[in-house]
Each structure stands twice: as structure tokens, then as C-alpha cells.
Amino acid sequence: MSAGRQDPGRGPHVRTWPVGLGIAATIGGAIAFVWSFVVGASNAWIGGSLALALLGLGLALAFWGRDLADDEVIAGRYPVPPDDTDGQAALATQLDEHASVITRRSFLSKFLLFGVGVFALSQAVLLGALGPWPGSSLFSTGWSKGRRLVTEDGEPVTRDVLATGGFLVAFPEGGDDKASSQVALLHFVNGDFVPQPGRESWSPENFVAYSRVCTHAGCPVAEYIDVDQMLVCPCHQSAFDVLHGAKPVAGPAARPLPQLPLAIDKDGYLVAQSDFLESVGPGFWDAS
């Protein structure tokens, strides 16, 4: 079933040029690879020479094999689909016999199965070692009554730090649980901001703090677009209207960003009135 051209006395015809060129490229690439490694050349040199060497040898072998393949196409048999119903029946009978050695002791065999099951289940407790029970960790953050707001560098935030129209990222003083406690602190122009019902006392002097953990998938809601008065999450583009309780107005988020009740103490420092009154971040089964 020969398809290719035969060279008399040399077997199947293998094209010399592509194979020879490939091998030459490999030798050149290998030398360049060692050179570029030794002199500490750039990634492009080290990688490029390695690529040349690999591709050269690979193409040489592929060409060689390709030419050989043209000359040797053979036929064979697929394994025959089993049609041995007698054999299968015999196997089933045999397995039955083996099993019956155990199952004939009806009580003991069931008791054995039960015992193995109890043992297997008992090992599941090891999973408990993997992590703590969530407990209250998902409901609490680093905020508490009177806790000062500080910047990332730990500088306390006073009413004078943030001009109207300004925005900064704040954390609870002491650095507890910075990930879930981070807030976006906004200072609105008088009259812009409309407090949500029941939250009239949470925004002294138009300072408003929202949780910065997105209620969709937990990314930091890091972009503040002041012309639109929106906080936008860079991960999935949820947008929250900061003038109206940080309700979601675009993107996949469903719940508003929780608002942190703020106060200004007698020295002019911004402090929390309490922790968040609802769980921050993405939703979960028993989230409040």
C-alpha cells in the first residue's frame, strides 16, 4: 500500500532538506541558548533560541515520520465486541459464589457493612480541622462604638482632613480586620446627600461612610466617579449611587453597600457610632 516514492536500496523516500534544515536549526538554537544563558541575555534571547532548537528538531522528526508514514499504511483488526453471554453468565455465577461465602452469614455480613460504614463516616470529622466554624466572623468587622477612622497609613481622620466633595479610604484605628472593615469616606456638599430613613444621624456634617466590600463578589469597590456620584467595583462593574444609600444602579450587585454610622467627637475626629448594623460584603445564606 505504498504511496510515496521509493529510493532504490534506501527504503522509503525521506526529503533531506526539511529534515536537515531542522536539525541545523536545532544545533544553532542550542548554541544560542547556551550563549544567551551564560551572558545573561534577555528573556527573548533565551526563549527564542530554545524555541528555535525545539521547533527545529520537532519539525525534522515530524517531516521524517510524515515521509515514512506515506510508505507504510497497514491494516489491522479492532478488538471484537464481546459477545460471550455464556462467559458473562459464568462470571456472574462465580462472583455470586464468592460473595455467598460472606453473605450466607446474614447477620455478620450486614454487621460488617454497618461497621465499615460507621468507620468511614467517623473519618469525616477530620474535615473539621480544615477551618473554624464561621460563627460570628461574617457578621462583625473591626468597627465599634467610638473607634476612630484612620487612613491606610494610620493617620486619624478629622473633619478638616477631607474637604467637601472629597473621598478617601478609611479603616478602624488599630488595624483590626482591615479587609472587611474598609470604608469609602465621602464628604458631600451640603444639601446633595439624602440620608435614608432612620439613618439621619449617621452622616454628621455630610460625612458618609460606606462599606467598600462589594455586595456582589467581595472585591473592593475601588473607583469613585464623582461626576456621577457613584462607587464602581472594578471586578464586575457594579455601580452604587452614593447619594441614595449606595443602592446598586448598574451591574450585577443586588444589595446596597452597608453604611457605617458615623459621629464626630469633641476633638473633631471622625468615629464610628457602632459596627455595621448588617453583614458586609457578598451575600450568604443567613446574612442579615
Binding site: 515520520g65 461574617l138 467581595g218
Partner: protein, 469 residues
Amino acid sequence: MTDHDLKQGDRGAPRSRDHDLKRGLGRAFGVRTSPLRPAARWLDTNLGGSGLLREELRHIFPDSWAFFLGEIALYCFIILVATGIFLALFFQASEAPVAYQGSYAPLHGAEMSAAYDSVVNLSLDVRAGLLVRQVHHWAALVFVGALIIHLIRMFVTAAYRRPRRINYLIGVSLVLLVGMNGLMGYSLPDDLLSGTGLRIAFSITESIPFVGPALASLLFGGEFPTSGLIARIYPVHIFLLPAAIAGLLGAHLGLLWLQRHTQFPGKGRSDQTIVGTPMVPAYALRTTGYLLIVGGVCAAFAAFVQINPVWLYGPYRPWDATTAAQPDWYMGWLEGAVRMWPGWDIQIGGLLIPAIFWPAVIIPGLIFTPLFLVPWLDWVATRDGAFHNVLLLPGQHPARTALAAGFITFLSVLLVAGGNDVFAIMFGWSQPTFLRVLQYLIFLLPPLIALFTYVLLRGRARRWATTVR
């Protein structure tokens, strides 16, 4: 090799006179004795089975470019293991804080995890370290791509029919495991993107009704961000999942070997007769060549196309974020689903099913469950439970191919949605409007493309039937 020879060998006696005589006669009559004869003798006396080996060296492989897709995937795995061993020599699976001292000036003195520090050092201060890291990453991207195209090929040629149902299941499992391990891999460097990805993974786990919070806490070792998470992911990435992948790959190839490869219809080919080239020498040469070519392509990408430059992203800090954050391409469909699904939280009494549960948990389930069931769904549709070794041509059965086209379109729209912010900026579109357009397209485009494929192929299938038969 005869019993006689074996007995001689066992007694440790010199070669029999008989043997020398035969060799002498061979020489005298010009019959060449192979220099490999001692090796073959060693093989038989120490391991046995030279007859079986002789037979298997002539194992027949049918020829088609489409049959090399799975091989590309296999070779990516080999490249990943080889480069992964190199990377493991440098990587520190630890979140212990360190101050960066390496050669990259913008990060000088910055506090970061030992894991991130080790990856930046490996990339910028270990000779050829960046190359190996980028080969590893590129090989992973090519790996999943090859697996998916391989899977599509299986589907449109109906290669999953008996006797290959089980091997198909193994294959789909491999797609899942390899994708998961890719996710683990890009979580390890502890840069800003990888940390953000883990944060989202935590949120998704948390969203599962009833068990979510506890499951997330168990898997991540507490409320995210937890220290020790990198140390936990590391053995999963370099041992647990690779071992599972290697085991399944072995089973996949073992079954392929035992059952022999399927073939496209052609002269002399039937469900009983296989036509192709033998393993040695042609096939072995070519496939070794393909291994090197896959390695060469990955090396070329690694040399000239930068991937995941973690030093530019900075270390992960839970209050930092970056725009245009995309996962690796094979997770893009999931990212797209998460972006597209509207904020439909479901409140039941005081209990909540967050909106993200549907796109991130249910949609992957709805994609993979039917994918696993394909051989049985095919049986329901065709009632064909027979052994098949000859493949169907994709154009021969328009319905199956149309279904595949629709499915691929569905995933492609999701993939585009996964980068909707990037596309919106690139083309100057309004991002919410573009998302809304995609929300319509996800319903419109897959059936349209499927219908188009069906109509296109039906005509060709008719012509094919009249001309060829």
C-alpha cells in the same frame, strides 16, 4: 527466545554452542544479526514479553490531523510537569511578610508575602526563571485550549459512542480538573489579581445555600483573607490535582491503546478493520516531533509574549483593586456569566440565596452535567448502542454539529462578557449598554448560529449522500 536459551541463562553458563553456531552460520550466509539482540535477550530474561512488545510496536494509529489535538494536550501536561518542577525549587508557599529586596526598583522595601516575593525574584533575578514561568503559564493556556478543541472533535464526530463511553467521561473529567488546577496555579503568586480571584472564589463558595458559609470557612481556613491559604493551595496545585490528572490521563491512554483509535470513514476501513501507520517508526517519530513542536511554540510565546507580569500588579492587599482584571481565558466564560446575571437576590423568610449563586454555581453545573451525559443523551436520541470504531463526519449529521455550534456560541458570548469592560473601552462603547446587548445575544445568538449551521450542513449532507454513495 526459547526455553532452552532461558535455562542456559539461568545457570549463568556461557552462551550455548548452539547459539554461536547459529550466529556463525548466519554470518556465513550473509544474514545480518542485529546488534540489539543482547538487549532483546536482556529484556526477555529480566522482564519477559518480547513477543507482546513486538506486537505493540506495530500498534496501528489511523491518521488525521484531528487526532493530534489530544496529543497536544498530553504534551502540554508533560511540559507543565517539567517546568513546574523548576518553579517549585524557587517558590515559597508562605504569606509571611517580607520586605522586598530584589532588583525591581518600584517595589523596593515594599512589604509583601514571601510567596509574592519569591515569584518576583524568580521572574526578575533568576536566570531563565521568567522564561520557565512563562512557558508554564502558556502551556497551561494551550493545554485547556487543546482539551476543549479535542472535546469538540469528540462530540462532532460522535467518538464517544460505545466502546468509548467511559473514556469520554474520563476526558470530560480531565477538562474539569485541568481547569481547576489552572485556577489554583494563578492563585499562588499572591499578586493583586490572584488575591482578587481568590476573594471572588470565597464569595462564590459562601453563596451556596445552607452549607455555603461553613464550606467556605473550611476550604479557606476561616473568613477571607486567611493566612495559610497559599500553603493550602500549593500541595493541591503541585500534587493532588496533578496526581489525579496523571492517573486519569494514564487511564485515558490505556483505554485508547486497548480499544485502538477511532478512524474516519475511508477505503478499507470499517468497525472491524483499522487502517493506519504503525507505532514504530513513522508514528513514533512524528509524535515525538509534535511534543517538541508544542514545547517550541510554548517557548516562543514565553520568549516574545509577556504573560501575567506579577511585578507590575503589586502584592495582594484586600483594599487594592485594579481595572481590566480578567482571569485566564478558560475561566472567562464563568467571569462573563457572573457579570451578566442580573442582581436577583432571592429572600426566603430571613434566608438569602445571593444572585451570584446562579451564574457561578448553577450555570457551570448546567454546562458540565449534560456534557458528562453526552453518550447517554446520544443513545436516547438515536437508540444506537452498538460498537463504533468508524467516526461520523461533522457534515454528515447536521443536528449534532449544529448543537455543538450553538453550545460554542453560548460559551463565546459568555467569554466576551467576561471582558466587557475591556471591549467597551477598546471600542468606545457604553459599558452598561454593551452588557445589555450581550444579555440579549446570549439568548439570540446560540440558536441562530445552531440553525444556520444546521441549514448549511443539511444541504451539504444531502449532496454528500448523493455523490459519494
